[in-house]
């Protein structure tokens, strides 16, 4: 069984993640997910690839803390967070968040909270590789 929190270079399957999530409770009535993927265009420039650097051990422990906090804060039945590192191409999956609850409101609220918090807390950096050169992404406030 795949761990609920992972950092990996390989792609993931949303169906597999959701099946694992659903397997944790028969009382789950709603699942909110967020999938972040690589765009081939950003800030007016064509992007051919995105590469990631991460403080792996800290990122993983922060993602686990985030999952535990979300489960407690929103009364979730289960949650999963997967982030890819390495290099991805346009259209490829980058990050997947899933939150499962008895009803839809906490599932959707928790999903949004987790992706917002992940961006604030988890030490991962994105570099856009374009025909005009590479540049580290500066997040907007």
């Amino acid at each position: 069984m795949l761990e609920p929190v992972r950092i990996q270079t390989e792609d993931f399957s949303q169906d597999e993640e959701v099946t694992a999530l659903l397997g944790s409770s028969k009382r789950m009535g709603g699942i909110g997910t967020f999938l972040g993927c690589a765009r081939d265009f950003s800030e007016g420039r064509e992007v051919s690839e995105i590469s990631f650097d991460a403080y792996g051990s800290m990122a993983l422990s922060e993602m686990n803390i985030l999952r535990n906090e979300a489960i407690a804060k929103f009364g979730l039945l289960d949650a999963r967070i997967v982030h890819r590192i390495g290099t991805v191409k346009g259209g490829d999956n980058i990050v997947f968040i899933a939150a499962g609850a008895e009803h839809r409101a906490p599932a959707l609220d928790a999903c949004r909270w987790m992706i917002d918090e992940l961006k604030e807390r988890v030490p991962i950096w994105k570099k856009e590789i374009t025909p005009q050169g590479d540049s580290w992404v500066v997040p907007h406030p």
Partner: protein, 79 residues
């Protein structure tokens, strides 16, 4: 020794992803930061977050133990 880690844009500006700094008793996070930002001002311009032994640290007065792992990090852009 203190192991100092850099990632992404900070590592690029420093030209390295890790430095070994001599430990001295009483060394605080603030001291380490001051020393390194004199040496690498361009890199430290974009440092927003610090971690000690893999956990966020906002306390510059924190004393570092020998063999600590310290990271000076730019704003995250994952997700």
């Amino acid at each position: 020794m203190i192991k100092v880690l850099f990632f992404g844009p900070v590592a690029e500006r420093i030209g390295s992803s890790t430095l070994q700094i001599e430990y001295r008793p009483g060394l605080r996070l603030q001291d380490l930061r001051d020393d390194l930002s004199k040496q690498y001002p361009q890199a430290f311009d974009i440092v927003c977050f610090m971690a000690v032994n893999g956990a966020h640290s906002r306390d510059l007065s924190q004393e570092l133990a020998d063999n600590s792992e310290v990271a000076f990090m730019a704003k995250f852009s994952g997700g």
